[in-house]
């Protein structure tokens, strides 16, 4: 894969020529590289673009063969009906509240635990960590009934808090893992210097480690946010008031009612992903950097 030009070039009389051919080769190499990446990007994005195209189509265009990319005539019917209906926006707001809050809780709580696992040796440490990580292996479907009982006892059915606490708890194991490996990568000397200056370990965490680990926190946040944005079954079962629905459940209802009204269902699907896409775009740099720099190095 790596096509670096050989390093030790034998000295030849026609150096210039070699240099030119190297430049040419590099340029072609770079061109090919970009071509390849653009192809990959296209594959990743075209399903979404096709959905965009479908969302503007009228029935005859949707069914047309061979398929057409540019709707003619284009229609805003799909969007109009979704917007007029209005419920979707409530669902999106709900999901923001749910995902955002549980993300913050998870990352805060997990960073404390991650710090403890990264920096302290204490009785039962390995066992507890192993236990926490093993919960990732559980298929959670059968947890529904007992969780429902608990949330009911706590009086949190049909509330944001009920779902938030469940999401937060389920996001923890993986987040602890990520943050721990992130903190592992932070040189311990930095912290020791802070402690010499009189910081307590918790202060050191807050003032030294967390700021340095900002990309890692960002990565963990994005992972949690996207994960919670996605959630379906708990939201379905734990909320019965329409005002409390999240987007997955709302969209699912759309699918049931308008499953074959393709422009409408496409429009709804796109409206749902736009906010996350924007957020991802804003946080992308930190997220990617965070993942690349530290996460999951073991």
């Amino acid at each position: 894969m790596s096509a670096q030009p050989a390093r030790a070039l034998p000295v030849r009389p026609v150096v210039r020529q070699t240099a030119i051919s190297t430049i040419v080769r590099r340029t072609i190499g770079r061109g090919l590289l970009h071509l390849l990446i653009i192809a990959v990007c296209w594959i990743m994005v075209f399903p979404v673009l096709w959905t965009v195209s479908t969302s503007f189509k009228l029935e005859p265009d949707i069914m047309r063969y061979p398929p057409v990319w540019i709707p003619n005539p284009a229609t805003l019917e799909g969007y109009r009906s979704v917007v007029e209906d209005g419920r979707l926006f409530r669902y999106i707001t709900n999901t923001f509240i749910l995902s955002g809050t549980s993300m913050v809780i998870t990352v805060l709580v997990a960073s404390l635990a991650g710090y403890a696992f990264s920096r302290f040796r204490f009785a039962g440490r390995d066992l507890i960590l192993l236990f926490i990580l093993a919960t990732v292996l559980i298929p959670g479907l059968t947890q529904l009934i007992p969780l429902y009982q608990m949330i009911k006892v706590m009086g949190l059915l049909n509330t944001y808090q009920g779902l938030i606490i469940i999401y937060a708890a389920h996001g923890l194991p993986f987040t602890i893992w990520i943050l721990k490996s992130f903190f592992d990568a932070v040189p311990i000397e930095l912290e020791e210097a802070a402690m010499i200056d009189g910081c307590t370990p918790v202060q050191a965490l807050a003032r030294v480690i967390l700021p340095i680990s900002a990309p890692g926190l960002m990565a963990a946040s994005v992972l949690n946010f996207v994960g919670h944005w996605n959630e379906f079954l708990t939201a379905l079962v734990f909320t019965s008031k329409d005002e409390m629905r999240n987007v997955s459940v709302g969209l699912y209802n759309y699918l049931g009612w308008y499953g074959s009204v393709y422009n409408r269902i496409s429009a709804a699907a796109l409206l749902v992903i736009v906010p996350v896409l924007i957020l991802f775009f804003i946080g992308r740099k930190n997220f990617v950097q965070g993942m690349v720099e530290g996460a999951l190095k073991g």
């Binding site: 029935e59 069914m63 063969y65 209906d85 419920r87 990732v136 559980i138 298929p139 959670g140 479907l141 947890q143 529904l144 009934i145 007992p146 429902y148 009982q149 009911k152 059915l157 469940i166 999401y167 389920h170 996001g171 194991p173 993986f174 994005v222 992972l223 949690n224 946010f225 996207v226 994960g227 919670h228 996605n230 959630e231 379906f232 079954l233 708990t234 379905l236 079962v237 019965s240 008031k241 329409d242 997955s248 459940v249 969209l251 699912y252 209802n253 699918l255 049931g256 009612w257 308008y258 499953g259 074959s260 009204v261």
Partner: protein
């Protein structure tokens, strides 16, 4: 699955599960479409108002499928008009409506197991046996016994059969309305109703071009394909899916074979049905028909709503849509149109706080007057045959509906876990129709053995 969508993967694992567009088995409320209620639902003599049931004002919870604020006329009639009328009649009961998506049966099950249920809920009529099995519903026999005899005797027998548990013979709910399945067709393409299987093939061939015009389309996706599509074709030959006693599977028989082979041939040999029909969902197949690409389609009476008000409006207004009995194998009119009769149902979950309020609602909903108004909008027939003569049902198509219900409607074969049975046979049928050369008999036999092996060792 989200897999490496990590957050997604791992978190969703915690709650792994499924957004599915399961075709709504029972009649579904029409997509929002502002249509004037057809010919003001002339209410006929309202029954004498009963005295308020509860002494103290109660706030009872009601679960309905979908969104309580759904602007569609069908949902509005139930969620607003009826609820208001009910509350005027029973000032001591106030209903709080909660909307549950199409997974209402799942949710009912989970909440019943966790001990937190509404006082009255919709559920899928065909899930009756599963609900009784899992103990999610209250048996209503004590309530019905206290009512005048007429109250129960006036119910259509399908209603009673469908809402009875096969395990203890008790009645666990009341249907919303009775629906039957029939053969919808394009009158302009096929003027006379097909009578036999050969007729379907003949007319189908005349109207299929193999690319975008098809003679016949059916909804083949398991498990509901069994009740809507295959069941009628089996029953009209006097065939059976279960033994009707213990709930043993007997679907590896000639009648089922014939029905499956017929459908396989529709697709592969006669090419009157598109290949996509084998796994087509409820909405997909019906939409193809309503948008004019198909000449025939088996669908329930609840299809009327969509035909009249949304996708099929153009064809309906032009008088091109017609409903008839499902053809029989040899065209014998005596056996015609054995089809699945059912609907959504009302039930009182086990452990309901204000079960009495729930019962009052059931009674209210099953009165003749309410039934007539409801059925007119929703598309089926009232659960009380005495209401069928109401002049509100004069539209010619209702005569056909009535014929389909009276002559052919029957409940599904008896099983303890109905849905598991039709899922099993549905998967087998889907597999058997996939290719022109499948070994239908073996596939049916294998799945029958697998099902019986689980319950009858």
């Amino acid at each position: 699955m989200g897999v490496l969508g990590l957050g997604a993967g791992v978190l969703a694992v915690a709650c792994a599960a499924p957004p599915t567009p399961t075709p709504v088995p029972p009649p579904k409320p029409a997509p929002a479409a502002p249509t004037p209620a057809p010919k003001a639902a002339a209410p006929t003599a309202a029954p004498a108002a009963k005295p308020p049931a509860a002494k103290e004002p109660v706030k009872a919870r009601m679960w309905v499928q979908g969104d309580p604020k759904d602007p569609g006329p069908v949902a509005q009639l139930r969620n607003v008009t009826f609820v208001n009328e009910f509350q005027q009649k029973f000032p001591n009961i106030k209903f709080e409506l909660e909307g549950v998506s199409e997974r209402i049966d799942l949710k009912l099950f989970v909440t019943a197991k966790a001990g937190d249920v509404p006082d009255i809920t919709m559920y899928s009529g065909q899930m009756q046996q599963n609900h009784a099995f899992a103990g999610t519903l209250t048996a209503l026999d004590d309530y019905t016994k206290a009512e005048p005899k007429q109250f129960i005797e006036d119910l259509f027998w399908i209603e009673t059969e469908t809402t009875k548990s096969t395990l203890d013979g008790k009645k666990y709910g009341f249907l919303y309305s009775v629906h039957a399945r029939g053969m919808w067709r394009r009158k302009d393409l096929i003027p006379d109703a097909p009578k036999s299987w050969d007729d379907i093939i003949k007319h189908g061939k005349a109207n299929a071009n193999g690319t975008d015009k098809w003679g016949f389309v059916f909804f083949g996706q398991k498990p509901w394909s069994i009740e809507v599509e295959y069941g009628p074709f089996v029953w009209s030959q006097d065939g059976k899916l279960s033994d009707g006693k213990e709930g043993r599977a007997v679907w590896a028989n000639d009648e089922v074979y014939n029905a499956v082979k017929l459908h396989r041939d529709f697709v592969h040999e006669h090419k009157i049905s598109p290949i996509s029909t084998i796994t087509a969902g409820f909405g997909d197949a019906w939409k193809l028909f309503l948008t004019g690409q198909v000449a025939m389609c088996v669908q329930g009476t609840y299809g009327l709503n969509q035909a009249k008000n949304t996708d099929g409006k153009a064809l309906w207004d032009a008088g091109k849509l017609e409903f008839d009995l499902i053809p029989t194998k040899d065209g014998n009119p005596e056996k015609s149109s054995r089809n699945f009769g059912n609907g959504w149902a009302w039930g009182i979950p086990k452990g309901a706080k204000y079960a009495d309020a729930g019962w009052e609602w059931i009674k209210f909903f099953s009165t003749r007057e309410t039934q007539v108004r409801w059925s007119l909008l929703e598309g089926g027939l009232p659960i009380r045959p005495s209401a069928w003569d109401d002049k509100a049902f004069e539209l010619p198509i209702y005569k056909k509906f009535r014929q389909a219900v009276e002559k052919g409607a029957r409940p599904m074969d008896l099983w303890r876990t109905y849905i598991e049975a039709i899922e099993t046979v549905g998967a087998a049928v889907e597999e058997a129709t996939l290719k022109p050369d499948t070994d239908i008999k073996k596939i049916l036999k294998d799945s029958q053995d697998a099902f019986n092996g689980k319950y009858f060792k």
